[in-house]
Structure formats: structure tokens, C-alpha cells
Symmetry: C2
Subunit: 365 residues, 2 copies
């Protein structure tokens, strides 16, 4: 793993670990944290469901398991900062980790549907958003708190966020206790985490303690201030809550996983492997690969989707000549949309959502 | 109007006519036809609803009006070939009209919800698509018919198409008899047309005669062969039914409407006006304008949306110096997605879905 920080622990796997199979092994699944990993006693832990509900709930893990049907969803999670390194190469982004191509992973998640839990609690009129609260304290939000700026004083220091009721009740959002057939590890949110398929990883809140139905989106620092797409010329330190575009559904993207960047290859046929992932509610329709910066393209062989929320691997064989090779890949979704060409045009002050063409440089000799 | 052809009648307004107001006047609304305009006797006309339904219906216009609640939707329609001229400038596209920036218009549509009509008919198990049939005979499909190629022999020569049941029953799809407060003109589909908000104009079938619930998508020429996004290196004459990506939901786009292309302007402040339109189910979050090919951007003032299916106008004032000016604009949607930069990377053999940055060239003196 490439470790960006030990505390909070932030690390990504090499792309070769993402190429081997549809689901990512537990020890290769990327870790994105904003505070120390809390270790929770499952015996005393309870999930609170409150806010604009008819019947507030307080549930042990055993009660969650026994009172609601078990669901499994294969879902890809992606950090909004995945491939930030390519943006930093354009222009520096102080204070944010230079994630390469590995802040994305896929698992089979097992738990209960948030829709079922909310149906049991009964949403009251006016419930438009469902927020998630966790106990991990984030230094980043703490600093904002201590700065005592008026707009920051009310922001909780714990990690959290919310999603609209329409997504929360659509069925695919899980409260999950297992991952790839194993109990959820502490690092990935034990005893219970949210999985919001098709949305940025930040909404899949780990170490979940509280689910709250509310009229407005969460005011949590990581929703109201961070994880928002600012205009390129904005100064993030002067952007209060509500600035920019709140990131939610992920955008169409694809990337190259194998060979690894700058790895030595020999002239002749070389297999190129990657993934593609469409946005919330769409499918990947085609993946193109180009050896000449997009002047001509060939179509990659695309795996059948394992479900609507999982990436699809693809592969193609290119014939390389001796010298430097720059390979690009782009995906098209079922609406006929494709990705922007260049990270330069996507640069934004916090370095989110780099969904430009996947790029690979190789030296062939 | 810029007339691309008299029979079938294809014409687009100058962009200034699209900038004046949210809804486009009837005489400026773009016309896209594949055959002669049929003139239908409303007194004898009936709408058939058949296929995988419990209760087939046969309805006069008066019965449609009296048996179902009237609905109004403000929706932008866009031809999949809008801005094809920019693609043709990259590489020729024989046999397709060089639509400029005017194959897009917005109206207030009044009719009944297709969902209500389908509920009355009762969808049977297995109904997955709803197809629309019209009487206009398309020369383009006729030629395919006469070519007697095996794969073309079964394709109807009349215009038609289908949408998935999920879209057909979502509520916003109308069977419309009025447009901007006027009865639907013959040129726009009288007595009844489909309006599929957020989807390519080709699915908003005019002169509607038959609505059919079916297991598979329509095999009509204009769905099975045309209006599909082929890979750049494909030869359309050799692509049978089912080739390429079937276009449906429109992709995020924006364009500049005023000043008009190549119009003379004076140095100093100049107001730039345009529109932005997000894809099916998404909203426009921001519009950026650049005078330096995307190196720096400023944010335009964006009108509040008139509804989820209508474009949003935007405007900004730029200060121009003497000489040539190239202005570009791009929109961001609520998922943090933006448009591809260049039409060159979007070129495809039938010239569809050019959703690259809006571009305007001016001479300032």
C-alpha cells in the first residue's frame, strides 16, 4: 500500500491489486480517514434512528440482523480525491493528499437496506434528507472549530454527512456489517457503516452511530464545507458552508490499472487492463483506448456488469513499438456521455472529481 | 430560420431567437422531420394503446382530454444532431444535415401524462418498453427497406421509437396537444405528440397514432439503426440494427446564444448570453466562461430553473479588446460533472451528441 498518512490512516493499493478481480481483497481496499479509527464495543453499541420519524429506534447489531431482511450489494467506493495527483501536477493543492489511481475499490457488502430501517421508523412529512453521524473526530474540522469563525462554530467536529431521502429510500443504500464475506474490519467501519452505492465515498459513513431524518442537508463540516467543487479561482480558506457544488453522485470515469505506470515493457503485443464506472443510475456502454492521444481509438473488451453499482473491468491488446508510449482510455455511458479529456480543465482548489481520461505512460524497450 | 431541407422540412432558428425568453416562440421552434408532414383529421383520428396491456384502449382526443388529468411540463427538446456542424468541420459526415446551434428549443407542453394512460390500460407482466408509432414515412428508412438487406427488411418505414417503462411511467412524459398555450401546429405533431423530457428529440414522436407496451425496445429504423452512437472508426453503412450506443437521455451541455457567431462587436464590456441543460434527472450547478481557451474561468449568472426539464439561461459580461476573440463556456451538473472540451474528441460517424464546450468567435473592432 502507498501510505499517505499514518494518523489519520490514509492509504491506497497499487493498481495491480485492483486489476486481479472484481472485488478488492480486504488488505488492498483503500483507506480514507479523517480522524483516528475508533474502536467500538459491539456489545454496548446501539444505532439510533431519530429526527423526523414517527417511531425513533434504538437497535443493537443483533436486532438489526433479526428485524430486517439481509441484503447484499456489490458496490465500488471511490474517494472524491482519487487521481488528485494528476491535478496537483497541474497546480499545487496544499493540505490535500496526492492520491494516485488507487483511491477506488470494490466489495460485496452485506447488511440491511436503509430503506427498510426508515420504513420501520416511519418518515414524517418534511423529511427530505437522511444524515449519518459517527464518533471519529476529524482534526481538519477541529481546526475549523478552533478558528472560531462564526460560520464554523456550529459545525460538528465529528465525521458525518447526509443524502437526499430519494437516494436513502431507493433500496441500494445499505447499513453494512460485512465486506467480501468477512465481518467489517475496524478500519472499514465496524460494527456498522453506511454504503451509498454510486456516490462519493465520503457519504458511506463508517462507525455509524446515528441516522437522522431532517428537512435540510447535514451541516457537518465534511458536507457543508469539504467535498464541494469550488470554481478554479476560489480560495478555499475563504469559502464558508454552502460554497461550490456539493459532491454526491460520482461521475462517469475510467482508468488504466495494468501495466503499472512507468513499468518497463517490451515491444510487441501488451495487454492493457482497466476499469470503468458510470455515474449514479447509468451504465458503461463502451470503453475506447488510444495510442495517439485520442486521434484514433479502438474499443476495449468490457466485462459484463456484476450489478448496477460495481465497476466493470476491461482489457485490450495494443502493439507497442520501442520508445515512450502514452496510452489513454475513456468510457462512454448509456446516455452517450464521455469523459473530459484533460485534468488541466478539471483543476479545482480542493482537487476533487478528476474524471479525465485514464492515462498511462510506459517505456518500451 | 436556417432551412436545411424543404421536404422533409428541417430548419433551425438563429440563436438570438433562443436567447430572448425561456420558451421558444412557435415560429422559431426548430423543426426536425424525416418525412413529409402528415395532415391528420382530428375528428376521425384515434389513439390506440395496445400490446402487453390488460385493457387495450382506443381514444379520441376528446376522450383523452376528459378521462385523464391535464398536465403541463416546461421541457427543452434537443435534436441529437444539434451542433453537428462543429463535428463536420473536423471530418465530413455525408448524408447528415449540418445543424448549427439552433436544433434545441423549449416550450410549455400541455396534455396528459403517459403514466396515467398506461395505468388505465394496465401494463401486463413483461412490459419493459413503450413504443410510439406515427404515420410519417421516412425516405431514409424507405431506402434501407428497398435495399432489401436481410437485417433491414423487417424495419418499419414509418417513424417511431420506444422508451423504457421506468421513464414512460415516471410522470413527466406527456401525450401533448398544446404548445406554449396554442394548439399543437401540424408541423409539430398535431393532433398529438409524445414529449419525453430529458431525452433526445427523436423519442418525442409527432403525429402519434399508437402506443404499444412490449418486452423489447422498438425495432424501428430510427431506434434500431439511426440515433445510435457508433465508434469513430465504424462505417455506418455496414452497421446493422443494435450497433453502437442507443441514444436516450441527453448529456449535460451548454452553448452561447448571444452575440451571434462572427457578429461584429466593439471593444469594451459585452454581454454574453447562453443556455445550459443537464441530463435526465440532474440539475445545472454552475456555468463557467473563459476568454483564454479554458486557462482561466469566471462564473456566469445562472437563471433559476423553471422546472427539472427546462434549460437555464445564463449571462455574463466580458471585457473585449480589439482583435479576434474566442469565448468558450462549459456547464457543471449537480454531480460535479462537466463537458468534454473539444468536438474533435467527440466525432462519431453519424454526428450525434456534440456536447463539447460552447464556442463563440467574435471580431472586435
Amino acid at each position: 500500500m502507498l501510505v499517505h498518512g499514518e494518523e489519520p490512516f490514509n492509504a491506497e493499493p497499487p493498481t495491480c491489486a485492483l486489476a486481479e478481480r472484481l472485488t478488492t481483497p480486504l488488505d488492498a481496499f483503500y483507506s480514507r480517514n479523517h480522524g483516528p479509527i475508533p474502536h467500538i464495543d459491539t456489545a454496548t453499541w446501539r444505532l439510533e434512528v431519530d429526527g423526523l420519524v414517527e417511531r425513533p429506534l434504538r437497535l443493537s447489531l443483533e436486532e438489526l440482523r433479526s428485524r430486517f431482511p439481509e441484503r447484499e450489494v456489490i458496490a465500488t467506493l471511490q474517494c472524491a480525491g482519487n487521481r488528485r495527483a494528476e491535478l496537483i501536477a497541474i497546480r499545487d493543492i496544499p493540505g490535500e493528499d496526492p492520491w494516485r489511481s488507487g483511491a477506488i475499490s470494490t466489495a460485496s457488502w452485506v447488511g440491511v437496506s436503509l430503506a427498510d430501517v426508515l420504513a420501520e421508523a416511519g418518515l414524517r412529512p418534511g423529511a427530505a434528507h437522511i444524515s449519518f453521524a459517527a464518533p471519529d473526530v476529524a482534526q481538519q474540522a477541529e481546526q475549523a472549530w478552533q478558528a472560531e469563525q462564526a460560520w464554523q462554530a456550529d459545525l460538528p467536529r465529528h465525521f458525518g454527512g447526509s443524502i437526499p431521502v430519494a437516494k436513502a429510500t431507493a433500496g441500494e443504500v445499505l447499513l453494512a456489517w460485512a465486506m467480501n464475506g468477512h465481518p467489517l474490519p475496524a478500519a472499514h467501519g465496524a460494527p456498522l457503516r453506511v454504503i451509498v452505492p454510486g456516490w462519493i465515498g465520503a457519504r458511506s459513513v463508517k462507525w455509524l452511530e446515528r441516522v437522522t431524518a431532517r428537512a435540510d442537508p447535514s451541516g457537518n463540516y465534511f458536507q457543508a464545507v469539504a467535498y464541494r467543487m469550488l470554481p478554479p479561482d476560489a480560495d478555499p480558506s475563504r469559502c464558508g458552508p454552502g460554497s461550490g457544488i456539493p459532491l454526491g453522485p460520482v461521475a462517469l470515469t475510467c482508468d488504466i490499472l495494468l501495466p503499472e505506470h512507468d513499468s518497463p515493457v517490451s515491444p510487441g503485443p501488451t495487454e492493457i487492463t482497466g476499469y470503468a464506472l458510470a455515474g449514479d443510475g447509468r451504465g458503461v456502454a463502451r470503453v475506447d483506448v488510444s495510442l495517439d492521444a485520442g486521434r484514433t481509438w479502438t474499443q476495449a473488451e468490457l466485462d459484463a456488469p456484476a450489478g448496477p453499482w460495481a465497476w466493470q473491468h476491461w482489457r485490450t491488446t495494443v502493439v507497442l513499438s520501442e520508445g515512450e508510449a502514452d496510452i489513454v482510455a475513456r468510457a462512454w455511458d448509456s446516455a452517450g456521455t464521455t469523459q473530459p479529456e484533460s485534468p488541466a480543465t478539471l483543476w479545482n482548489p480542493r482537487g476533487y472529481a478528476n474524471t479525465s481520461w485514464g492515462r498511462l505512460h510506459l517505456t518500451c524497450r
